[in-house]
Amino acid sequence: MSTTATREEIEDRVVSALVTFGVEPSEINRDAAFEQLDVDSLDLVELAQIVEDEYGVQLKGEDVQNLRTVGDALDLIAARLP
């Protein structure tokens, strides 16, 4: 578990996770809404598991349910970095 992850590293990791969820890489940007990307609550729970596993960032159920865009997720993860 790294505690020195940079914003760029986190961004790359989130993008790669979204791609494995089936999102087209070209559609991913800060303003893209998860709903538009067809990323649902089950995917977001998996994303939360990944960032907890890899960065020690704890995201609760209500945290991820309130995420609207990719940027929201990146900001929340960065703010919670230990």
Binding site: T20, F21, G22, L42, V45, E46, Q49, D53
Partner: protein
């Protein structure tokens, strides 16, 4: 007036390849897909049929069902969307075991990384009704939708339930069948542990040397429509489900009732439901697992249900070519029966050479042979738990 049920499309993914016709043609030609004691769908590539999102949200058993369903709908002429009121189109898909690949891999995650790492997709992917739900979602089928679970009779029970939905008026069409992929370390160890699978890795149904079944995987899907509704849309009709009979042995968790009483009652009931006489039966697609117990009790059941006519009917086992597809077997074999009736051919029981005492029906040894006589075919499916499900089919003229 009775609502009659026609078959307008079929699709299958089996160890013999992708496609219902592929199964029929290769089996009829005497090809066997069993290798090293297993029958895998080696020609099936999920990426040909599923998006990345669909693939990671489905166990392999659901992926096989998606591919078989795609073929069946296209065969029925439904590519451009289904032709009925979606609220009156159902989906019933059987499985013996469901998403055991997912169950086992998620159990590894639980053991190695703790409960917090278990995937939120685990439940919806492994549940035994996942295939039915996914097919309904993918194709917008809004009528009755559920899975059937009766071990190796599940595929036949699904078709039987679908027939009743159409006959009762609950649905005008039902997408139905069965799917299975259970070649996991746990499932294989468990079947071997109970002595069900062949220790020699051979499948030779009804042969004196038979010593168990060979595990296979695959899926079969049929499109059933109410006859008038199919006629109104100008559907090409492949055949009809004439009758369905289901009984329980209520005898033993795994062993069939000696003498095949429960199976015989299911066959008799299916013929009654079809309004057919045993003399009209031209072909029997046997459950024929290659286990010592099944093949004997099934032989007894056929003699008891068909009487003297049993000696004159070709009886062959699809499992001799593709292994035992468990909860998919009843659906894939119903399709095999229909195509055999359409081509008027009895495909062979591969590997059958040495007659066993008391097992003296015509098991179609060696090579396929033309069908004679009546128009009716029977497809038998029997499952652990004492479940017997028998379908009575005919091909369109």
């Amino acid at each position: 007036m009775t609502r009659r049920v026609v078959i307008t499309g079929v699709g299958a993914v089996t160890p013999l390849g992708v496609g219902a016709r592929t199964l029929h043609d290769r089996w009829t030609a005497g090809e066997c897909a069993i290798e090293d004691g297993l029958a895998r769908c080696t020609e099936f590539d999920p990426t040909d049929h599923l998006s990345i999102k669909e693939a990671r949200r489905s166990d392999r058993y659901t992926q096989l069902a998606i591919a078989a369903c795609g073929e069946a709908l296209s065969d029925a002429g439904w590519e451009g969307g289904q032709p009925h009121d979606p609220a009156r189109v159902g989906c019933v898909i059987g499985t013996g075991i469901g998403g055991i690949n997912t169950l086992e891999s998620q159990h590894d995650v639980l053991r190695d990384r703790g409960p917090g790492a278990v995937s939120p997709l685990a439940v919806p992917v492994m549940m035994s009704n996942a295939a039915a739900g996914v097919l309904a979602m993918r194709h917008g089928l809004l009528g009755p939708c559920f899975g059937t679970v009766s071990a190796c009779a599940a595929g036949a029970h699904a078709i039987g339930a679908a027939v009743r939905l159409v006959q009762s008026g609950d649905a005008d069409a039902v997408v139905t069948g069965g799917s299975e992929s259970a070649m996991t370390p746990l499932a294989m160890a468990a079947f071997a542990g109970m002595g069900a699978t062949s220790p020699t890795g051979t499948c030779r149904p009804f042969d004196a040397r038979r010593d168990g079944f060979v595990m296979g995987e695959g899926a079969g899907v049929l499109v059933l429509e109410e006859e008038e509704a199919a006629r109104r849309r100008g559907a090409r009709v492949l055949g009809r489900v004439l009758g369905f009979g289901a009984t329980a042995d209520a005898y033993h968790l795994t062993a069939p009732e000696p003498g095949g009483g429960g199976s015989a009652r299911a066959i008799t009931r299916a013929l009654e439901d079809a309004g057919a006489e045993s003399a009209e039966v031209a072909y029997v697609n046997a459950h024929g697992t290659s286990t010592p117990l099944n093949d004997r009790s099934e032989t007894d059941a056929l003699k008891s249900a068909l009487g003297e006519h049993a000696a004159h009917v070709p009886v062959s086992s699809t499992k001799s070519a593709i292994g035992h597809l468990l909860g998919a077997a009843g659906a894939v074999e119903a399709i095999a029966t229909l195509l055999a009736l359409r081509d008027r051919v009895a495909p062979p029981t591969l590997g059958y050479e040495q007659p066993d005492e008391g097992l003296d029906l015509d098991y179609v040894p060696g090579a396929a042979r033309p069908l004679n006589g009546g128009r009716v075919g029977i497809s038998n499916s029997f499952g652990f738990g004492g479940h017997n499900a028998v379908l009575c089919l005919e091909a369109a003229a």
